[in-house]
Symmetry: C2
Subunit: 220 residues, 2 copies
Protein backbone atom coordinates (compact mmCIF):
# COMPACT_ATOMS: atom_id res chain seq x y z
CA UNK A 1 0.00 0.00 0.00
CA UNK A 2 1.26 3.41 -0.89
CA UNK A 3 -0.27 6.76 -0.14
CA UNK A 4 1.07 9.39 -2.46
CA UNK A 5 -1.03 12.37 -3.46
CA UNK A 6 -4.28 11.14 -4.97
CA UNK A 7 -5.31 13.13 -8.04
CA UNK A 8 -8.79 14.57 -8.45
CA UNK A 9 -9.34 12.39 -11.50
CA UNK A 10 -8.88 9.30 -9.35
CA UNK A 11 -11.25 10.50 -6.64
CA UNK A 12 -13.91 11.31 -9.25
CA UNK A 13 -13.79 7.75 -10.50
CA UNK A 14 -14.25 6.10 -7.11
CA UNK A 15 -18.00 6.83 -6.98
CA UNK A 16 -18.31 5.35 -10.47
CA UNK A 17 -16.66 2.15 -9.34
CA UNK A 18 -18.92 2.04 -6.34
CA UNK A 19 -21.99 2.47 -8.49
CA UNK A 20 -21.12 -0.35 -10.86
CA UNK A 21 -20.11 -2.60 -8.00
CA UNK A 22 -23.43 -1.98 -6.29
CA UNK A 23 -25.23 -2.97 -9.47
CA UNK A 24 -23.15 -6.13 -9.72
CA UNK A 25 -23.86 -6.91 -6.10
CA UNK A 26 -27.59 -6.48 -6.68
CA UNK A 27 -27.28 -9.07 -9.45
CA UNK A 28 -25.43 -11.33 -7.02
CA UNK A 29 -22.19 -11.28 -8.96
CA UNK A 30 -19.39 -12.45 -6.67
CA UNK A 31 -16.24 -11.46 -8.51
CA UNK A 32 -15.29 -8.95 -11.15
CA UNK A 33 -12.12 -8.26 -13.12
CA UNK A 34 -10.69 -4.86 -14.03
CA UNK A 35 -11.36 -5.92 -17.60
CA UNK A 36 -15.10 -6.29 -16.95
CA UNK A 37 -15.29 -3.06 -14.98
CA UNK A 38 -13.49 -1.35 -17.82
CA UNK A 39 -16.07 -2.46 -20.35
CA UNK A 40 -18.92 -1.24 -18.18
CA UNK A 41 -17.38 2.13 -17.48
CA UNK A 42 -15.55 2.70 -20.73
CA UNK A 43 -12.29 2.89 -18.91
CA UNK A 44 -8.94 1.24 -19.44
CA UNK A 45 -8.56 -1.76 -17.10
CA UNK A 46 -5.03 -0.72 -16.22
CA UNK A 47 -6.37 2.59 -15.05
CA UNK A 48 -8.87 0.93 -12.77
CA UNK A 49 -6.22 -1.33 -11.27
CA UNK A 50 -3.93 1.62 -10.78
CA UNK A 51 -6.65 3.73 -9.16
CA UNK A 52 -7.48 1.01 -6.68
CA UNK A 53 -3.83 0.27 -5.99
CA UNK A 54 -3.38 3.78 -4.61
CA UNK A 55 -5.42 2.67 -1.62
CA UNK A 56 -4.37 -0.92 -1.14
CA UNK A 57 -4.23 -4.39 -2.64
CA UNK A 58 -7.86 -5.32 -2.99
CA UNK A 59 -7.73 -7.94 -5.74
CA UNK A 60 -6.50 -11.46 -6.19
CA UNK A 61 -4.16 -12.29 -9.01
CA UNK A 62 -5.70 -14.63 -11.52
CA UNK A 63 -9.13 -14.10 -10.00
CA UNK A 64 -10.16 -10.46 -9.88
CA UNK A 65 -11.92 -8.43 -7.20
CA UNK A 66 -14.45 -9.73 -4.73
CA UNK A 67 -17.45 -7.48 -5.27
CA UNK A 68 -18.59 -7.26 -1.67
CA UNK A 69 -15.08 -6.73 -0.34
CA UNK A 70 -14.29 -4.02 -2.89
CA UNK A 71 -17.55 -2.21 -2.16
CA UNK A 72 -16.64 -2.20 1.50
CA UNK A 73 -13.15 -0.92 0.79
CA UNK A 74 -14.27 1.90 -1.48
CA UNK A 75 -16.92 2.89 1.03
CA UNK A 76 -14.18 3.07 3.62
CA UNK A 77 -12.01 5.21 1.36
CA UNK A 78 -14.87 7.61 0.67
CA UNK A 79 -15.93 7.32 4.30
CA UNK A 80 -19.48 6.76 3.14
CA UNK A 81 -20.56 5.05 6.31
CA UNK A 82 -20.16 8.18 8.34
CA UNK A 83 -23.17 10.40 7.70
CA UNK A 84 -22.39 14.05 7.04
CA UNK A 85 -24.94 16.67 7.96
CA UNK A 86 -25.93 19.11 5.26
CA UNK A 87 -27.74 22.44 5.20
CA UNK A 88 -29.70 23.35 2.11
CA UNK A 89 -30.11 27.02 1.26
CA UNK A 90 -32.86 27.92 -1.17
CA UNK A 91 -36.26 26.27 -0.74
CA UNK A 92 -37.30 26.63 -4.36
CA UNK A 93 -38.23 23.80 -6.70
CA UNK A 94 -34.73 22.47 -6.96
CA UNK A 95 -34.19 22.63 -3.21
CA UNK A 96 -37.43 20.80 -2.69
CA UNK A 97 -36.43 18.15 -5.20
CA UNK A 98 -33.14 17.58 -3.43
CA UNK A 99 -34.84 17.31 -0.04
CA UNK A 100 -37.20 14.71 -1.38
CA UNK A 101 -34.41 12.90 -3.11
CA UNK A 102 -32.58 12.83 0.17
CA UNK A 103 -35.44 11.08 1.93
CA UNK A 104 -35.29 8.03 -0.27
CA UNK A 105 -31.55 7.58 -0.71
CA UNK A 106 -29.49 6.01 2.02
CA UNK A 107 -26.76 8.44 1.21
CA UNK A 108 -23.79 9.59 3.17
CA UNK A 109 -25.20 13.08 3.24
CA UNK A 110 -28.27 14.03 5.16
CA UNK A 111 -30.07 17.31 4.76
CA UNK A 112 -30.60 18.43 8.34
CA UNK A 113 -31.75 22.02 7.90
CA UNK A 114 -33.30 24.17 5.18
CA UNK A 115 -32.97 27.93 4.90
CA UNK A 116 -34.57 30.58 2.76
CA UNK A 117 -34.89 34.30 3.01
CA UNK A 118 -38.31 34.76 1.46
CA UNK A 119 -40.89 35.46 4.17
CA UNK A 120 -43.49 33.33 2.40
CA UNK A 121 -41.17 30.31 2.48
CA UNK A 122 -39.96 30.63 6.07
CA UNK A 123 -41.93 28.43 8.41
CA UNK A 124 -43.26 26.11 5.71
CA UNK A 125 -42.57 22.40 5.92
CA UNK A 126 -40.51 20.22 3.62
CA UNK A 127 -40.92 16.67 4.79
CA UNK A 128 -40.17 16.79 8.50
CA UNK A 129 -38.02 19.91 8.16
CA UNK A 130 -39.16 23.48 8.67
CA UNK A 131 -37.73 26.23 6.51
CA UNK A 132 -35.73 28.64 8.67
CA UNK A 133 -34.74 32.25 7.97
CA UNK A 134 -31.17 32.95 6.94
CA UNK A 135 -30.61 34.75 10.22
CA UNK A 136 -30.57 31.36 11.94
CA UNK A 137 -27.92 29.92 9.62
CA UNK A 138 -24.75 30.30 11.67
CA UNK A 139 -26.42 29.26 14.89
CA UNK A 140 -27.97 26.17 13.37
CA UNK A 141 -24.82 25.08 11.58
CA UNK A 142 -22.82 25.22 14.78
CA UNK A 143 -25.50 23.63 16.91
CA UNK A 144 -26.04 20.63 14.64
CA UNK A 145 -22.45 20.18 13.47
CA UNK A 146 -23.42 20.76 9.87
CA UNK A 147 -20.39 20.41 7.63
CA UNK A 148 -21.73 20.93 4.11
CA UNK A 149 -23.94 23.55 2.48
CA UNK A 150 -25.96 22.97 -0.67
CA UNK A 151 -26.71 26.19 -2.52
CA UNK A 152 -29.91 26.23 -4.57
CA UNK A 153 -30.62 29.95 -4.63
CA UNK A 154 -30.61 32.07 -7.79
CA UNK A 155 -27.20 32.88 -9.25
CA UNK A 156 -27.11 36.48 -8.08
CA UNK A 157 -27.61 35.45 -4.45
CA UNK A 158 -25.19 32.55 -4.48
CA UNK A 159 -22.06 34.48 -3.53
CA UNK A 160 -23.78 36.03 -0.52
CA UNK A 161 -24.93 32.66 0.65
CA UNK A 162 -21.42 31.26 0.15
CA UNK A 163 -20.06 34.08 2.31
CA UNK A 164 -22.52 33.38 5.07
CA UNK A 165 -21.73 29.68 4.95
CA UNK A 166 -18.05 30.52 5.14
CA UNK A 167 -18.56 32.71 8.17
CA UNK A 168 -20.63 30.01 9.81
CA UNK A 169 -17.68 27.63 9.55
CA UNK A 170 -18.86 25.27 6.84
CA UNK A 171 -16.27 22.84 5.39
CA UNK A 172 -17.70 22.08 1.96
CA UNK A 173 -20.17 23.54 -0.53
CA UNK A 174 -22.12 21.97 -3.35
CA UNK A 175 -23.26 24.79 -5.58
CA UNK A 176 -26.18 24.33 -7.96
CA UNK A 177 -26.40 27.99 -8.91
CA UNK A 178 -24.90 28.95 -12.27
CA UNK A 179 -22.26 31.19 -10.72
CA UNK A 180 -18.59 30.89 -9.95
CA UNK A 181 -18.05 31.45 -6.27
CA UNK A 182 -15.08 32.81 -4.38
CA UNK A 183 -14.44 30.99 -1.13
CA UNK A 184 -11.35 30.65 1.06
CA UNK A 185 -9.18 27.81 -0.15
CA UNK A 186 -9.72 25.71 2.96
CA UNK A 187 -13.36 25.33 1.91
CA UNK A 188 -13.96 22.64 -0.64
CA UNK A 189 -16.41 23.70 -3.33
CA UNK A 190 -17.98 21.43 -5.94
CA UNK A 191 -20.22 22.56 -8.76
CA UNK A 192 -23.40 20.87 -9.95
CA UNK A 193 -24.39 23.38 -12.58
CA UNK A 194 -26.33 21.61 -15.28
CA UNK A 195 -26.66 24.77 -17.38
CA UNK A 196 -22.97 24.41 -18.24
CA UNK A 197 -23.48 20.76 -18.99
CA UNK A 198 -26.26 21.69 -21.40
CA UNK A 199 -24.09 24.28 -23.12
CA UNK A 200 -21.27 21.85 -23.76
CA UNK A 201 -23.80 19.24 -24.89
CA UNK A 202 -25.10 21.78 -27.38
CA UNK A 203 -21.58 22.24 -28.71
CA UNK A 204 -21.29 18.58 -29.55
CA UNK A 205 -24.72 18.38 -31.12
CA UNK A 206 -23.90 21.20 -33.43
CA UNK A 207 -20.38 20.15 -34.24
CA UNK A 208 -21.32 16.54 -34.90
CA UNK A 209 -19.03 15.18 -37.54
CA UNK A 210 -16.43 17.91 -37.20
CA UNK A 211 -13.93 15.33 -36.17
CA UNK A 212 -13.94 13.46 -39.48
CA UNK A 213 -14.47 16.56 -41.50
CA UNK A 214 -11.26 18.48 -41.91
CA UNK A 215 -12.57 20.14 -45.06
CA UNK A 216 -15.59 21.72 -43.39
CA UNK A 217 -13.62 24.25 -41.39
CA UNK A 218 -15.00 27.72 -41.77
CA UNK A 219 -11.90 29.82 -42.02
CA UNK A 220 -12.57 33.37 -42.99
Amino acid sequence: MKQTKISEAVVKRLPLYLQVLNELHAREVQTVSSQELGVKLDLNPAQIRKDLAYFGEFGRKGVGYDVVYLIEKIRQILKVNQTIKVALIGAGNLGLALCNYNKYSKDNMQITAVFDNHPEKVGSSIGHLTVQPMSKLAESIKEHNIRVGIITVPAHEAQNVANELTNAGIEGILNFAPAILRVPEEIRIHYADFTKELLSLAYYLNHEGDENDESAMDTE
Copy 2:
Protein backbone atom coordinates in the same frame (compact mmCIF):
# COMPACT_ATOMS: atom_id res chain seq x y z
CA MET B 1 -7.51 30.31 -37.25
CA LYS B 2 -6.86 26.67 -36.93
CA GLN B 3 -9.34 23.90 -36.40
CA THR B 4 -7.62 20.84 -35.08
CA LYS B 5 -9.46 18.44 -32.82
CA ILE B 6 -10.81 20.34 -29.83
CA SER B 7 -10.39 18.46 -26.57
CA GLU B 8 -13.25 17.94 -24.15
CA ALA B 9 -11.40 19.92 -21.50
CA VAL B 10 -11.43 22.96 -23.77
CA VAL B 11 -15.13 22.66 -24.58
CA LYS B 12 -15.96 22.34 -20.87
CA ARG B 13 -14.23 25.64 -20.19
CA LEU B 14 -16.06 27.64 -22.85
CA PRO B 15 -19.28 27.92 -20.78
CA LEU B 16 -17.16 29.14 -17.87
CA TYR B 17 -15.66 31.86 -19.98
CA LEU B 18 -19.09 32.83 -21.18
CA GLN B 19 -20.39 33.03 -17.64
CA VAL B 20 -17.64 35.31 -16.40
CA LEU B 21 -17.85 37.46 -19.51
CA ASN B 22 -21.58 37.87 -18.99
CA GLU B 23 -20.94 39.03 -15.45
CA LEU B 24 -18.33 41.51 -16.67
CA HIS B 25 -20.73 42.75 -19.31
CA ALA B 26 -23.42 43.27 -16.69
CA ARG B 27 -20.94 45.43 -14.80
CA GLU B 28 -20.27 47.32 -18.04
CA VAL B 29 -16.66 46.27 -18.26
CA GLN B 30 -15.46 46.86 -21.83
CA THR B 31 -12.23 44.93 -22.02
CA VAL B 32 -10.64 42.04 -20.17
CA SER B 33 -7.23 40.38 -20.30
CA SER B 34 -6.50 36.67 -20.07
CA GLN B 35 -4.72 37.54 -16.84
CA GLU B 36 -7.92 38.93 -15.29
CA LEU B 37 -10.04 36.06 -16.54
CA GLY B 38 -7.49 33.69 -15.10
CA VAL B 39 -7.77 35.23 -11.65
CA LYS B 40 -11.54 34.99 -11.72
CA LEU B 41 -11.61 31.40 -12.88
CA ASP B 42 -8.49 30.10 -11.20
CA LEU B 43 -7.01 29.20 -14.53
CA ASN B 44 -3.67 29.87 -16.12
CA PRO B 45 -3.91 32.85 -18.51
CA ALA B 46 -1.91 31.00 -21.14
CA GLN B 47 -4.49 28.27 -21.08
CA ILE B 48 -7.30 30.72 -21.65
CA ARG B 49 -5.49 32.32 -24.57
CA LYS B 50 -4.75 28.92 -26.04
CA ASP B 51 -8.35 27.74 -25.66
CA LEU B 52 -9.68 30.79 -27.45
CA ALA B 53 -7.02 30.59 -30.13
CA TYR B 54 -8.38 27.23 -31.24
CA PHE B 55 -11.36 29.09 -32.62
CA GLY B 56 -9.88 32.29 -33.90
CA GLU B 57 -8.01 35.47 -33.04
CA PHE B 58 -10.40 37.29 -30.77
CA GLY B 59 -8.05 39.54 -28.80
CA ARG B 60 -5.90 42.57 -29.43
CA LYS B 61 -2.27 42.52 -28.49
CA GLY B 62 -1.43 44.94 -25.73
CA VAL B 63 -5.12 45.48 -25.02
CA GLY B 64 -6.96 42.26 -24.25
CA TYR B 65 -10.37 41.00 -25.28
CA ASP B 66 -13.41 43.13 -25.99
CA VAL B 67 -16.04 41.68 -23.65
CA VAL B 68 -19.03 42.08 -25.96
CA TYR B 69 -17.18 40.77 -28.98
CA LEU B 70 -15.83 37.74 -27.12
CA ILE B 71 -19.26 36.91 -25.72
CA GLU B 72 -20.63 36.97 -29.24
CA LYS B 73 -17.83 34.78 -30.52
CA ILE B 74 -18.16 32.16 -27.80
CA ARG B 75 -21.91 32.12 -28.28
CA GLN B 76 -21.28 31.43 -31.95
CA ILE B 77 -18.87 28.61 -31.15
CA LEU B 78 -21.35 27.00 -28.76
CA LYS B 79 -24.16 27.84 -31.17
CA VAL B 80 -26.15 29.24 -28.26
CA ASN B 81 -28.34 31.42 -30.38
CA GLN B 82 -29.99 28.47 -32.03
CA THR B 83 -32.58 27.06 -29.63
CA ILE B 84 -32.53 23.31 -29.22
CA LYS B 85 -35.73 21.52 -28.34
CA VAL B 86 -35.62 19.20 -25.36
CA ALA B 87 -37.88 16.48 -24.01
CA LEU B 88 -37.92 15.84 -20.30
CA ILE B 89 -38.70 12.36 -19.07
CA GLY B 90 -39.73 12.02 -15.45
CA ALA B 91 -42.20 14.53 -14.02
CA GLY B 92 -41.06 14.15 -10.43
CA ASN B 93 -39.73 16.89 -8.22
CA LEU B 94 -36.50 17.25 -10.08
CA GLY B 95 -38.21 17.28 -13.46
CA LEU B 96 -40.57 19.92 -12.19
CA ALA B 97 -37.68 21.99 -10.92
CA LEU B 98 -35.95 21.84 -14.29
CA CYS B 99 -39.13 22.82 -16.14
CA ASN B 100 -39.53 25.82 -13.93
CA TYR B 101 -35.91 26.70 -14.24
CA ASN B 102 -36.31 26.55 -17.96
CA LYS B 103 -39.09 29.12 -17.94
CA TYR B 104 -36.94 31.85 -16.49
CA SER B 105 -33.66 31.27 -18.26
CA LYS B 106 -33.19 32.48 -21.79
CA ASP B 107 -31.20 29.36 -22.46
CA ASN B 108 -30.28 27.63 -25.65
CA MET B 109 -32.34 24.65 -24.61
CA GLN B 110 -36.08 24.70 -24.39
CA ILE B 111 -38.13 21.97 -22.76
CA THR B 112 -40.84 21.33 -25.31
CA ALA B 113 -42.44 18.13 -24.01
CA VAL B 114 -42.67 16.25 -20.73
CA PHE B 115 -43.23 12.52 -20.38
CA ASP B 116 -43.98 10.22 -17.50
CA ASN B 117 -45.33 6.75 -17.22
CA HIS B 118 -47.26 7.07 -13.99
CA PRO B 119 -51.00 7.29 -14.69
CA GLU B 120 -51.48 9.87 -11.94
CA LYS B 121 -48.93 12.17 -13.58
CA VAL B 122 -50.08 11.85 -17.18
CA GLY B 123 -52.38 14.68 -18.17
CA SER B 124 -51.28 17.03 -15.41
CA SER B 125 -49.90 20.45 -16.27
CA ILE B 126 -46.42 21.82 -15.72
CA GLY B 127 -46.47 25.44 -16.75
CA HIS B 128 -47.99 25.42 -20.21
CA LEU B 129 -46.94 21.84 -20.89
CA THR B 130 -49.06 18.74 -20.35
CA VAL B 131 -47.43 15.54 -19.16
CA GLN B 132 -47.70 12.89 -21.85
CA PRO B 133 -47.46 9.10 -21.54
CA MET B 134 -44.28 7.38 -22.66
CA SER B 135 -46.18 5.79 -25.53
CA LYS B 136 -46.22 9.19 -27.23
CA LEU B 137 -42.46 9.69 -26.93
CA ALA B 138 -41.23 8.66 -30.38
CA GLU B 139 -44.09 10.38 -32.18
CA SER B 140 -43.62 13.62 -30.30
CA ILE B 141 -39.86 13.69 -30.70
CA LYS B 142 -40.14 13.31 -34.43
CA GLU B 143 -43.02 15.72 -34.81
CA HIS B 144 -41.37 18.56 -32.90
CA ASN B 145 -37.79 17.95 -33.97
CA ILE B 146 -36.68 17.35 -30.42
CA ARG B 147 -32.95 16.70 -30.32
CA VAL B 148 -32.15 16.25 -26.63
CA GLY B 149 -33.66 14.18 -23.83
CA ILE B 150 -33.30 15.02 -20.14
CA ILE B 151 -33.68 11.96 -17.93
CA THR B 152 -35.05 12.58 -14.44
CA VAL B 153 -36.54 9.19 -13.69
CA PRO B 154 -35.30 6.88 -10.91
CA ALA B 155 -32.03 5.09 -11.57
CA HIS B 156 -33.57 1.71 -12.29
CA GLU B 157 -35.73 3.12 -15.08
CA ALA B 158 -33.06 5.27 -16.66
CA GLN B 159 -31.64 2.68 -19.04
CA ASN B 160 -35.09 1.88 -20.42
CA VAL B 161 -35.77 5.54 -21.02
CA ALA B 162 -32.39 5.91 -22.70
CA ASN B 163 -33.26 3.02 -25.01
CA GLU B 164 -36.57 4.58 -25.94
CA LEU B 165 -34.91 7.91 -26.60
CA THR B 166 -32.35 6.16 -28.76
CA ASN B 167 -35.04 4.44 -30.79
CA ALA B 168 -36.87 7.71 -31.19
CA GLY B 169 -33.80 9.21 -32.84
CA ILE B 170 -32.57 11.56 -30.14
CA GLU B 171 -29.11 13.09 -30.60
CA GLY B 172 -28.10 13.91 -27.04
CA ILE B 173 -29.00 12.96 -23.48
CA LEU B 174 -28.52 14.74 -20.19
CA ASN B 175 -28.90 12.12 -17.48
CA PHE B 176 -29.70 13.15 -13.91
CA ALA B 177 -30.30 9.61 -12.70
CA PRO B 178 -27.50 8.02 -10.72
CA ALA B 179 -26.89 5.30 -13.29
CA ILE B 180 -24.36 4.69 -16.02
CA LEU B 181 -26.17 4.31 -19.31
CA ARG B 182 -25.27 2.38 -22.44
CA VAL B 183 -26.12 4.25 -25.61
CA PRO B 184 -24.84 3.95 -29.18
CA GLU B 185 -21.72 6.00 -29.65
CA GLU B 186 -23.36 8.41 -32.08
CA ILE B 187 -25.49 9.66 -29.19
CA ARG B 188 -23.82 12.20 -26.97
CA ILE B 189 -24.50 11.60 -23.30
CA HIS B 190 -23.66 13.96 -20.44
CA TYR B 191 -24.13 13.23 -16.77
CA ALA B 192 -25.52 15.58 -14.14
CA ASP B 193 -25.46 13.21 -11.22
CA PHE B 194 -24.99 15.19 -8.05
CA THR B 195 -24.88 12.08 -5.87
CA LYS B 196 -21.42 11.38 -7.28
CA GLU B 197 -20.43 14.97 -6.68
CA LEU B 198 -21.48 14.60 -3.06
CA LEU B 199 -19.49 11.40 -2.65
CA SER B 200 -16.29 12.96 -3.92
CA LEU B 201 -16.94 16.03 -1.79
CA ALA B 202 -17.21 13.72 1.21
CA TYR B 203 -13.84 12.24 0.35
CA TYR B 204 -12.17 15.61 0.57
CA LEU B 205 -13.92 16.58 3.79
CA ASN B 206 -12.71 13.43 5.44
CA HIS B 207 -9.21 13.49 4.05
CA GLU B 208 -8.65 17.14 4.82
CA GLY B 209 -5.00 17.69 5.62
CA ASP B 210 -3.78 14.48 3.99
CA GLU B 211 -1.88 16.54 1.48
CA ASN B 212 0.37 18.42 3.92
CA ASP B 213 0.91 15.45 6.06
CA GLU B 214 3.79 13.55 4.57
CA SER B 215 4.59 12.05 7.94
CA ALA B 216 1.24 10.33 8.18
CA MET B 217 1.88 8.23 5.12
CA ASP B 218 1.99 4.58 5.84
CA THR B 219 4.80 3.62 3.53
CA GLU B 220 6.38 0.21 3.71
